[in-house]
Symmetry: C2
Amino acid sequence: MSEAVLKYLEDNRESLLKKMENFLSIPSVSTDSSNKQDVLKAADFVANYLKEIGFHSVEIKETAGHPLVYAEWLEEKDAQTALFYGHYDVQPADPYELWDSEPFQPEIRNGRIFARGASDDKGQVFMHLAVFEAYMKTEGRLPMNLKVCIEGEEEIGSENLYPFLEDHKDKLTSDFAIISDSGMVEKGQPTMLYGLKGFTGLEFHVQGPNRDLHSGLYGGAVKNPAMAMSHLLASLKNPDEYVTVPGFYDDVEKLADEERAMMNQAPGENYTESIGIPETMPEKGFTVNEHLMARPTLEINGLTSGYQGQGTKTIIPSTASAKITCRLVPGQDPQKIQDLLVDYIENNAPKGVSVSVKREPLSAKAYKVDPNHPLLQKAADNLADAFGKDTVFVRLGGSIPVVESIDQMFGIPVVLLGFGTPEDNLHSPNESFPLDHFDKGMEVLVKYYRDVAYLEK
Amino acid sequence: MSEAVLKYLEDNRESLLKKMENFLSIPSVSTDSSNKQDVLKAADFVANYLKEIGFHSVEIKETAGHPLVYAEWLEEKDAQTALFYGHYDVQPADPYELWDSEPFQPEIRNGRIFARGASDDKGQVFMHLAVFEAYMKTEGRLPMNLKVCIEGEEEIGSENLYPFLEDHKDKLTSDFAIISDSGMVEKGQPTMLYGLKGFTGLEFHVQGPNRDLHSGLYGGAVKNPAMAMSHLLASLKNPDEYVTVPGFYDDVEKLADEERAMMNQAPGENYTESIGIPETMPEKGFTVNEHLMARPTLEINGLTSGYQGQGTKTIIPSTASAKITCRLVPGQDPQKIQDLLVDYIENNAPKGVSVSVKREPLSAKAYKVDPNHPLLQKAADNLADAFGKDTVFVRLGGSIPVVESIDQMFGIPVVLLGFGTPEDNLHSPNESFPLDHFDKGMEVLVKYYRDVAYLEK
């Protein structure tokens, strides 16, 4: 039944690629005000494409920043309704000199299309639009209802997306959300991402003497702020990578044996090769995959104190400070964890110095959807069919704030159908996207939109 | 018997002050090659003064760097022979804009003479020369034998002094050394400095992944180098300020109750006021004075890792590093302590990272002379007489490398007769020296040189 749709994509591959290249050629760098017109041009491209395809009520919604494009097609009365989210803005391309071809003149080499946004996220957004086109051109309709929301500020924090979602909650209500803004664990390895970590953080400042002191004249009278900080930091996590702040793990959802087994099936990175470490260090009692995907973390992101230049300067530094962030798992409340950390640090501040804590204002809850949900199982099947390999189910240590927002606001499953690969160089020079993932990804989408259209709600 | 000598100093105070001002006017900044001629001019000043007074074999000794001035007066056959050491070079004067008067145009304000070098060390060297002059002019001879060695590279490490001492060991051999290049614990508080701490140090580098990593994508697989460093640093010293590296205290000379009592008589600084700390933190079981003067210390001088800018950057840093120095007490061998520290750090390097240690090449042994030695007791009496207050006996947490060298090379007591005050701003803008210390200090020197001339050898 989908053969005609797939054939349309095959027959029109060249023109679709050309069209995607036009989209990628627009330098829609959201952070750079000198690209404001380009950002608008990219919004126009998306809106016009949706209109051409036959979407209804296509609108370029103005915001306090860059606009977002909204469109609907709601003609399949009893079918599922999906909220398709993506973004048309991109990261800056500099340093330009490190690109092998122009970032905004897409070039195909070695089976990959090289351009800023090829993977993140214009290329993956385009795949959905092309699939919608293929359905419309062959069947005159989409297999299910769609609400499309493509924003222009993802790379600068989606500041204006959240109020928009909040203000149009009723209008946007859907049965599930679908997002293609992520990737697979390996090229060609079908991957279902069913969970993300949450986030909280803080920094603290240790104030000792009001100036750097001569270590000979004051050593023995004065608590060294760098040593005070070291004692405090060392007491946050033990050498088994277990966070020793009381209460930190209290609300962590227990990891079922079945899920642990599933996580351990995902292929692991060769860390010695990729990042040059002598050995991996997961939490005692957990594998690397388990810790990466399902156990919370506490990391020192940076610290500083005293003299850092060449040679020796025999001082007792006046101050020391450290930045800390945590990745959280389902069950943990970011606010509660931040409170625990702040209380711990304040209550355990060494004598002889004063410690002040600054809370990181941003936070996120972890996100997780049941990997056995039919919406995910179907996607996994479609991926396995197209890529000829069993799908692995993974959770990710990172956060995708929009996923958490959709989860919080709408309480609907979010299907993360990412087609990127680890070699895509997101946010770096020579971003690219593999063309076989382009082809097979569209095949997945064609089948998926049809297969889940009449799933029981 | 010394009345005439003292009267000479009183009668000639104006011209002596004028002469000292001439000496202080020479910008003998040893570190700045553009001042090379000025440095030579200061050496000439010292040599000419010694010749005028009547010293024999006055020589400006060329070295690989700035010259040193050597002179002898050895006419008092059976008397003691003192090696008088000082330096005629000074620290740079910048930042000039922070001086209230020109650093090389001495100015007298509020009972102090302001000029670079007024206290460190040209002013104090001049006091000895003026006392020698007073003796020669009134009695035609000095009360004891003197070997004078005034160098021009103290502020840049005395690199060429040590080979000179070594090469002229026999010629320089004396019964004791006398140095006025230090100060009193408070203005007007006679102070005998009878011990200095030694020194050793190192820095270590913790290498984690070969680049900063995304804390979400790698947190749980990778040992955080900043946390590894914190654990290592925290294990060097406990919250009681006790150094926990095995063997660190093994060779520390036991502190006699009598000496502890003596140390605690020295007035302490009001640290809350002077440096703004909430409370002092000496090693458990010791007072601040005891720790400052007689217990070894281990200080973190600086550390660095990862992101230190504004806001948050969610990384696992690639590296972390720390600089550490120790102040050592009599009994401790700097090389042995450095070995202990290096071994400890290497043997306790956390798993998952690699730790490399770089040894600080400079080191010094602690110095101590028996405070009951007649040479010190006599100085204490002379100080008490001149300043009208009992002399306190102290040891200092800092090092004076030349003292250690003289101790090692000649095995003679070093009498540290320092007349400076804590308010002298050594190495800082507005260096000054109090004129009443100039007057009373010369009185001390007049009496001291006579009183110890025929001490039993």
